[in-house]
């Protein structure tokens, strides 16, 4: 009994804080008095008043709070079996109800956990918001089942196959994670609309089901932009200015020299020395032109290597753009599915 007193002291610190927010919505006077008695550590009075309140007309929330108050009170009075029974009622009324382990006495917490294992409920059904391309992703769904049972997960709320489409069936206990690809049996994406994810657990004659409304919306899949360049690769100049050289003058002199030498060599000896006036005038003109060309900035020449490189680059970009065009054609035929959970309107049964 002395040990129990220390637990009561702890409860004194913890429970009022946890019940403050709830007491604001408690309208029933008897229940409020029971809460007051509990806060004053008058457990017998609290027990009497809480049980009395249950015989009165209470809302679901108030009924849950009444049983929870009974559970805490029985835990405080070391009546664990009764506490478990009270917490079982809490869970049946509010399957999602959880106690904060940091703010609840271990006795009450263990009684609550025992209560959870003695009834069949599916709790904490969660559907994560997700966005994916139809056929290439899935919607994560998870829930916790408190007893080993056959659990069937279905989608309901649509028409045809979607009136009730089973998406998973398993024997499970504890947390279960499943992934729903949001596809019809035909493989097509689930149409736009509001649906419900229904999880039904059955063991023997007992069954429990809960649901989570979701909304499925369709959107266009983003297409890829065409490329104008490849990252890290730039076009190279297709012409380059060669370095200055004396080749034009040299060749001009060679050509002129060949003409002068040829004239001298071919000239008939009987006719005297050949005339060089004509070849000198024309050859001089060529030499001057060659000299000017030597001084002049050379004309840009095609850079074969760069031309081939640019050609390869253009081919690569064209090939990639062809692939992008094909990918975009495919994407335009696809559907982006967005699945979001909607607020729940009720609890499981």
């Amino acid at each position: 009994m002395h040990r129990s007193t220390s637990w009561f002291a702890a409860l004194l610190l913890v429970l009022p804080a946890s019940l403050v927010g709830q007491a604001q919505t408690i309208q029933n006077a008897t229940l409020r008095r029971a809460q007051q008695a509990f806060d004053n550590l008058d457990y017998r009075q609290a027990l009497t008043l809480a049980q009395a309140s249950l015989r009165e007309r209470l809302s679901g929330f108030e009924r849950g709070r009444a049983y929870e108050l009974l559970g805490f009170t029985y835990s405080g009075m070391d009546s664990i079996l009764k506490a478990v029974e009270a917490f079982k009622q809490v869970v049946l009324i509010e399957p999602e109800r959880d106690l904060d382990p940091n703010r609840t006495s271990p006795k009450a917490l263990s009684a609550f956990q025992v209560a959870l294992t003695q009834i069949l409920v599916v709790r904490q059904l969660r559907v994560d918001s997700s966005n994916f391309i139809g056929g290439q992703g899935a919607v994560p769904i998870r829930y916790t089942v408190t007893q080993p049972s056959r659990v069937v997960t279905r989608i309901t709320g649509g028409s045809g196959a979607l009136a009730s489409m089973r998406i998973d069936s398993t024997v499970a206990n504890g947390q279960v994670n499943i992934r729903w690809p949001a596809r019809l049996p035909s493989g097509d994406p689930v149409p736009d609309g509001n649906y419900s994810v229904v999880v039904e657990a059955t063991v023997g004659q007992n069954s429990f089901s809960t649901s989570q409304p979701i909304r499925v919306t369709h959107g266009a899949v983003d297409t890829l932009e065409h490329l104008t360049s490849l990252p890290g690769y730039t076009y190279l100049p297709e012409t380059e200015v060669p370095p200055k050289s004396w080749k034009p003058l040299g060749l001009a002199l060679v050509y002129t020299g060949v003409a002068v030498a040829g004239t001298s060599a071919l000239s008939h000896s009987d006719l005297g020395s050949p005339s060089t006036r004509e070849v000198a005038v024309v050859g001089g003109g060529i030499a001057v032109a060659g000299f000017v060309m030597t001084l002049k900035k050379p004309a840009p020449q095609p850079a074969r290597g760069n031309i081939l490189y640019n050609q390869l680059l253009r081919e690569q970009i064209a090939r990639r753009n062809t692939e992008i065009a094909q990918e975009n054609t495919r994407r335009r035929q696809q559907v982006a599915l967005t699945v979001v959970p909607l607020p729940r309107t009720g609890v499981g049964r």
């Binding site: 034009p248 002129t256 003409a259 004509e278 070849v279 024309v282 003109g285 060529i286 032109a289």
Partner: protein, 214 residues
Amino acid sequence: MRALALVLLVLAPMSLAAQRVSIGPQIAFGDYREVSSALHYRGNGLAAKATVEFKKLSADIVLSKVKYKPVDKNNGTSEFDASEIDVKMRYYIRGPFSAEVGFMNRKADPEFEAQSVGAVTLGAYMGYLLGPGVHMSLNGGLLFGAKYSGGGTTSGLGAVELGLGFTVDALKGRVQVTGDYGFQTFSRQTDDGSGPLDAPIQQSLGRVGLAVRF
């Protein structure tokens, strides 16, 4: 003239579809020698040159008229006019090289002051682009089947020609400055019954002018 008409008939259809045609006047100046160093003439005159280029084919047609005057006026010779037509067709082979075929005909007026001559030419042409718009060429070949107004023959390799030329583009290539040098030598032999006698003929002709390109 008949030869000129024939050439024009051949070239006219080509020139219609030609990629490039250029034509223009030139000033001609030449040196002419015949038989011995005593028959030495120099002169000036006018010429006209047309060039047609079509794909790998090209052709040059040159008409010239030079008034030759004896260098030594005291040896009893007198001046004469040399009217010449020179036609060459080329086919591009590879690199700077082209094959060249054509004919030349030169007439002297008065007829007995110098030899009129005609021959078929066969040779090679080598062209090189010195720089943007500046082109030079060297050509050489043999003159086959030479016919002389005064008779005489030439062995197969006895008649040779050599040429040098350039063009410089001006006014964005619409006008060209042209310069050409042509050297011809004929190792002609005559026989008056006393045995073969050398009677060579040699001409150096320079031409400088302008051409308009189409």
